[in-house]
Symmetry: none
Subunit: 190 residues, 4 copies
DNA sequence: ATATAACCGAGACGGTACGTCACGTCTTCAC
DNA sequence: GTGAAGACGTGACGTACCGTCTCGGTTATAT
């Protein structure tokens, strides 16, 4: 089923088809095993159409990530007023995703992609985990709900939280029920 | 210069030559770009000799890691009695390594390798960072030097520390002087 | 010096380059010793370009044969009216070719190729020795010049002549001056 | 089941086992596809034991041939007094062998072996088809049963007969009932 | 209204690396 | 000192993808 043609302007249909094919292939077989030819075939698109707009499969992956096609957009900090509870809920959701076989595999794939492609690395940080808003929220919480001292290194706190998630994905250790809370206790104090 | 033959037993010379070639190639060009043919050529060895003993380049890399050929063995916790100071010194050394272009690249390569190979992931955790002894030391430190409560989740603390290092490597952000201390402050409190 | 590209249609330049390389390599080193990689390298072509169009080196060889690149097209029956003299001249030329070291080696190579590849066998018969026209001519000669009875089994006569040539090539016995005539005498009578 | 050892003299058991394995493998899969490792494994013998006594698989094949393990010894000219009838019977047997799928394949294999190995070529001629005795018999028959002139080129007659058989094997054309007789008619006259 | 030019699908091309097979050499050890 | 076993360096196999390059066909825009 060939895609409809749109003349000498970039075909949005082709672009979407490529991103969807990429996301599907990563979900099915992992970032390694992802090939340009596989994407083109799955998307019903010529290889040149991919190379015209992206320099590498890492770049396509990064755009997938940015479009929210790989990791659901749900990983957003809630905003109830109780920062500690918000963080717990957010981390809980992430660990839940990590607990599913699908999620663990995709996340691991993305780590691999990030390791060899700087763009993916950046996207993985801010588009996926919204690290910025995370540290902003931590800053806002100083002196309020949790036992954060006024000059707490929030940036480092955020890195520690997210880093622990990555390490968990890398090490392939299964997620246990209370893990998210324990991590929060460890980093923020009880 | 062909290696000496040793008959129907495994050639230790070939094994070492392969591991050394692998370590050198990873250090020079990164884990992606590492090829079996490249290893064989550099090691002066037939490809089959590699495939006879390792199923994949990930496995070879894991053995390199285990033999301490990729990351220096220096990342060991000192043991001065002052746990906090020991941790600071250990983290400082790691961040120092991460600060060098070489070290950052190798570490990132290994993360990529870990993402696609479970064995590498495991080795990267315990052979490299001695996570076990790390949490053991944290346990020992409870109630002593630092402000760790008696039931502190040391395992999670260790994961947060190491995870932050990995995230730093992945995100390619340069290391600044006080980073190690700030991370320690963030996770262990001041 | 890369060959010119011609897009998504088969490149005639590549095809010719491959056939020429094949013919040259067979002439130089024999059919055994012929390798796909050798052909590709000599032709300045990717291996896949060979495999895309031919299933085996035997098939490439068969096409060489068909294109007249391996055995000169000169082995054609003259047509003077005197069939006996025509046959003598034709056989003489073949034995002359067989007498040269080059010719003997190539012919033997082709026999080896024919033994393991049916296509080569067929080509070797009809494209090379024009067996068809040979038996047709023999049929035409019945009752005329030679002592062929009206119902002479011309097909078998042709096979005997060509077969004797093959056997000579296989057995590596040097060709002596009067051999062609003697063979003709033996098969056709004096 | 390892073969019994016999100390510092050549093991006849090993030699026979190798030849039998070779003959079986050629019969099963053809001369190309025959491998030294396959022979060794099938014979329950170390590779070195083969290389110690034969320089190539062609040589092993030649010895098989010489021992009558590949082509049945039945292809011998009968000796009834009627040379024409003897030849007819002999050729008939050969064509019968050639008519079986097994026989056609083995013979073709041997031609391939002969094409790349001089020794096999020689053996194939005299050990297999007893060409010597054939031309001797033809000589003896001069002036007797058939219409051979006194100075008939018997050597060439023999070559034509055998050559026709080889060509038939090479060209993979099925054998029809009267073929042997027709060939004899063609070459010797009616 | 028509040419022009960018885009599209398809896929052939010269390459690199894959993982496997077999080669012929060599070494160990049991008999 | 022969023979089974099998590791070794070498080299070819046939396959998968790479990134580049036409090709023929569409279609929006600039003449």
């Amino acid at each position: 089923m060939p895609l409809p043609r749109s003349g000498p302007v970039r075909s949005e249909a082709a672009r979407l088809s490529i991103l969807e094919a990429t996301a599907a292939l990563i979900a099915e077989r992992g970032y390694d095993h992802l090939t340009m030819e596989g994407i083109a075939a799955r998307a019903g698109v010529g290889k040149q159409t991919i190379y015209r707009w992206w320099p590498s499969k890492g770049a396509v992956t990064a755009e997938c990530l940015f479009e929210g096609m790989l990791v659901p957009g749900r990983f957003q900090l809630p905003h109830t007023g109780d920062v500690r509870r918000d963080l717990a809920s957010w981390l809980g959701e992430i660990f839940g995703y990590l607990g599913s076989e699908q999620g663990e595999s995709i996340l691991r794939s993305l780590i691999g992609a990030a390791a060899e492609n700087a763009d993916v690395g950046r996207r993985l940080r801010d588009a996926l985990f919204r690290a910025d808003s995370l540290s902003a929220r931590l800053t806002a919480a100083i002196g309020t709900t949790s036992n954060l001292p006024p000059d707490a290194p929030v940036e480092e706190l955020a890195e520690a939280l997210i880093g622990a998630v990555l390490l968990r994905a890398l090490s392939r250790e299964p997620v246990a029920p209370g893990d998210a809370e324990r991590l929060l206790d460890a980093v923020l104090g009880r």
